[in-house]
Subunit: 555 residues, 2 copies
């Protein structure tokens, strides 16, 4: 009988080394390691002088299900496996948002014996980066409303302010609000709304800038709304790019932590992949590539969301080419995509796996379009039957697809050695990375290409207001920006309930939001919301502190 | 010709020691010092085992003016002066709110050669405490609205939710808002409003709790609103006190930094004294009293606000008795209270000083009511004339009041030695501290006593709605709580323009808000607002980063 511990229990029983020791082993100069507690540090990247040359392994997944596929777990475990086979490796991850922590049980730091530590701190405030981003976002909102209130010299139309406030919380009540009520001394009334912090353009700019100078330059280009005569108004017009950058001066330094097995991990920036672009900062990835030969990194949700944006937005911007791609798949997810309900996943059901594997098939086809050979990581769960696993292995073999069973949750890096070796084979073979589309394609066509080539849809439908926004985009010369699709993570369609590999569908674009600081156009599909809500029984109800002030019930 | 440097320039030219060195000299066990960068640390107070015995020196001031009196500067300089005369001393301060930083130029870390370091970090995010408090406050708001949305089992009346959201920003547009708009999937609409974080009851609870267990207990007692049948609803009813405490588990550890002269400083908690209770956390004060023989601490604004609340709320709760009180006064403030405009302060004007000294007189009378002898610190400015200074000295001598000219801004601790010696005389003499009122007095009478005995008013007027709230307070058994007055800092009255020592006035109580977690009743007077606004030309316009990512134009 195996004893199963919770992630928090495993984390608490693990040996954790002082962060200076991890930094030293990673070759980080001592004077650039700013400790935050004993086990976390911020890295002053200006003091690191080395070429950006490490190879990048991107971890993505099939369409996620409520069963949980363990993509972060595989990412962490794979980095530990690379260490085990003697590679100089670092892992680069997104930092968790506090919002979902209080909603659904489940952390963002891996699981079992493939975790980053200290998981409590990383899942709560970490080193304050998301708070700094929230602050910069809302300072800008306050500057905008103050400008309007104090005479509105720039002639900003309060009905056309596109800059929204944010909060790092799942709070549906703030989705749509009216601010500035209460008379002439309480501001100018207007409609407004709050997004979750991970959807803030400040978060996107933060993740897509190369250094603090670039960050300031990009912030200055943010469009906050339009004048009464429909001219875009930027942060530069308001003159507050310096102050906003100042708010981010410490946050912009990437955060160093460690895996349970002592692999150095940089965790920095955390946009969601359903409503934002979904990968950690370019600064963290580049720093890891300066320090290590192999950098394992993940993109959010399935390949249709995080990976597509990794390729078309981040990789293009950073000038990086992934050397290998790992697709995390699970028997459970295939069963759900094959029609099985969540509470029936424990029973063997080879037929459902056969039916649901089409979801994986589509993800693999998608990734090949980017010119890099995908490797399947079949992440093992105790409920998987031998026959189910063998079917998937056979299916891959018939298609000449590399696959490894991954047991990093139970065994740590040791459980990922086979995967690491397969990934290394790909890394050592020349790949032909290319983005899905050229930037010169009009925004409308970029979206159509993503919908048809990646989602497998027939066509894209633009609402009337989206059509007007397309015109605004053209008129202002923003048509060459890449597109950041906002779509449910559960389906290739814009309907979360259509699992598997749907066909014969259209995607509706409800709204297009130009993010001229981040340098992309957000396309909202279906009923996707940029502010989540809490469930009826939030995870918060089980959270507590013990006598010593330590976390209880966090995960 | 003397060269004058900005506070930031002086700070940057000062030698700063590694925080571990400061901690060691202060007798703090190594394992309890959690570094945040090289020059800041959080202190795990559970590892400090010593009696709470250090003597407390409270620094307060006459009614502040836009000229700036330098209370924090004197507080820091006095602690350095105590060090110079061989005392084992620590200074305990409030942490700055980000909100005002972007509004008016001016930091909260002292000035000249009497500053705490690193001033940039302390004035920006510091170690994240205010962000954690904001998060806990807004998590509670999200839990409340989610409860209502998900069926409202507790029968909460959305029109009677008293818990407001907060943001650490001067943002008048959020004072009065409507949330939950947009249809059935975006929540239940209701009127709401945002306060600045320093006015949050979480901030008050944070500052008035003895340890993390006490914090959780107090959070559970917070009243968030009323049911349809007018019963109070608490955090305990919602079951989220554990989660809210968890959010604060690191913030609750006090922050160690150093003065320019290497005196250890604990900076922790920062409620404003005009809209909240205005002093640093009990945990920080108690920890400093465990480590040092003399603890210099300040309360916000004039003695009518911060000091009164220090005595009647904090000291009572902490079971501490101040051993001495310092009243910071300036020639410039006396001139303004004597009717001189801000841009005419440079010219000698003994008559105005004579006229305006009545403001200081009233503060001194007030402080004597608490049974402790006040010492006047006349904080020197270059524009003071000899005759002006001599008049004030003479005035004090005639009344047998101890006074020292303080030159800590220009000279650091050396400029405060005379003051430190006078304060030590008082500390070595037995004082007879007592709060202004007994808790058994009804809330109405407590307010009347403060208005008459401290403000010098004739009487107090309650609006109709305040009268109804008095009844609610009685009905719910909250009449024994102390009162936290929210009043303009510029005047003894509720009208910011009435300077000097006004007489023959009434104070209007507009609203009474029971804070059952903090354990006090907030009384809003006049048109005081719990959310400030930004000025026409915010200080943010001058802020920037340099090539190396360091702050420019912060102060």
């Amino acid at each position: 009988m195996v004893e199963y511990l919770s992630d928090l229990e495993i984390a608490n029983r693990s040996e954790i080394r002082p962060i200076q020791e991890i930094a030293e082993k990673a070759g980080i100069p001592k004077e650039s390691v700013e400790p935050y507690g004993f086990y976390k540090a911020k890295i002053n990247t200006q003091l690191i002088d080395a070429p950006v040359k490490g190879k990048v392994v991107l971890v993505t997944a099939m369409s996620p299900t409520p069963a949980g596929e363990g993509k972060s777990t595989v990412t962490v475990g794979l980095s530990d496996a690379f260490k085990k086979i003697g590679e100089n490796v670092m892992v680069a991850l997104r930092e968790p948002s506090l919002g979902p922590v209080f909603g659904m049980k489940g952390g963002a730091t891996g699981g079992g014996y493939a975790q980053v530590l200290p998981m409590e701190e990383i899942n709560l405030h970490f080193n304050g980066d998301l708070h700094a981003i929230t602050t910069a976002n809302n300072a800008l909102a306050a500057f905008i409303d103050n400008h309007i209130y104090q005479g509105n010299q720039l002639n900003i139309d309060p009905r056309r302010v596109t800059w929204k406030r944010v909060i790092d919380m799942n709070d549906r009540t703030l989705r749509q609000v009216v601010v500035g009520l209460g008379g002439p001394f309480k501001g100018v009334p207007r409609e407004d709304g709050f997004d979750i912090t991970v959807a803030s353009e400040i978060m996107a700019v933060f993740c897509l800038s190369r250094d603090i100078k670039d960050l300031k330059e990009n912030i200055s280009k943010i469009t906050i709304g339009f004048t009464y005569d429909r001219k875009p108004v930027t942060v530069k017009d308001l003159g507050v790019e310096g102050a906003l950058t100042l708010i981010l001066k410490d946050a912009i330094k990437p955060n160093l932590v460690q895996t349970i097995e002592g692999t150095p991990a940089l965790i920095h920036g955390g946009p969601f992949a359903n409503i934002a672009h979904g990968c950690n900062s370019i600064i963290a990835t580049n720093t890891a590539r300066q320090l290590a030969d192999v950098v394992v990194t993940e993109s959010g949700f399935g390949s249709d969301l995080g990976a597509e944006k990794f390729m078309d937005i981040k990789a293009r911007r950073a000038g990086l080419e992934p050397s290998a791609i790992v697709v995390v798949a699970t028997i459970r997810a295939m069963k759900m995509h094959g029609g099985v309900a969540k509470d029936e996943l424990k029973a063997e059901n080879v037929e459902a796996v056969k039916k649901g594997i089409v979801n994986l098939e589509k993800h693999l086809e998608n990734l090949k379009q980017f010119g890099v050979e995908p490797v399947v990581a079949l992440n093992a769960f105790v409920t998987d039957s031998e026959e189910e696993v063998n079917f998937v292995k056979q299916w891959c073999a018939e298609r000449n697809i590399k696959i490894a069973l991954t047991e990093v949750w139970e065994k740590g890096g040791e459980g990922g050695v086979e995967l690491a070796k397969l990934v290394k084979e790909v890394m050592d073979t020349e790949q032909n990375f290319k983005p899905l589309y050229e930037l010169e394609l009009p925004v409308e066509e970029k979206i159509r290409k993503i919908v048809q080539d990646i989602y497998g849809g027939d066509d894209v439908v633009f609402t009337d207001s989206a059509k007007k926004q397309l015109k605004t985009i053209k008129d202002n010369g923003w048509d060459n920006y890449p597109v950041c699709m906002a779509k449910t993570q559960y389906s290739f369609t814009d309907d979360a309930k259509k699992l598997g590999r749907p066909a014969g569908f259209e995607i509706t674009i409800r709204e297009l939001i130009p993010k001229t600081g981040a340098g992309f156009i957000v396309a909202l599909t279906g009923d996707i919301m940029t502010m989540p809500g809490l469930p009826k029984q939030p995870a918060a109800l089980n959270m507590d502190i013990d006598e010593n002030g330590n976390a209880v019930g966090l995960f």
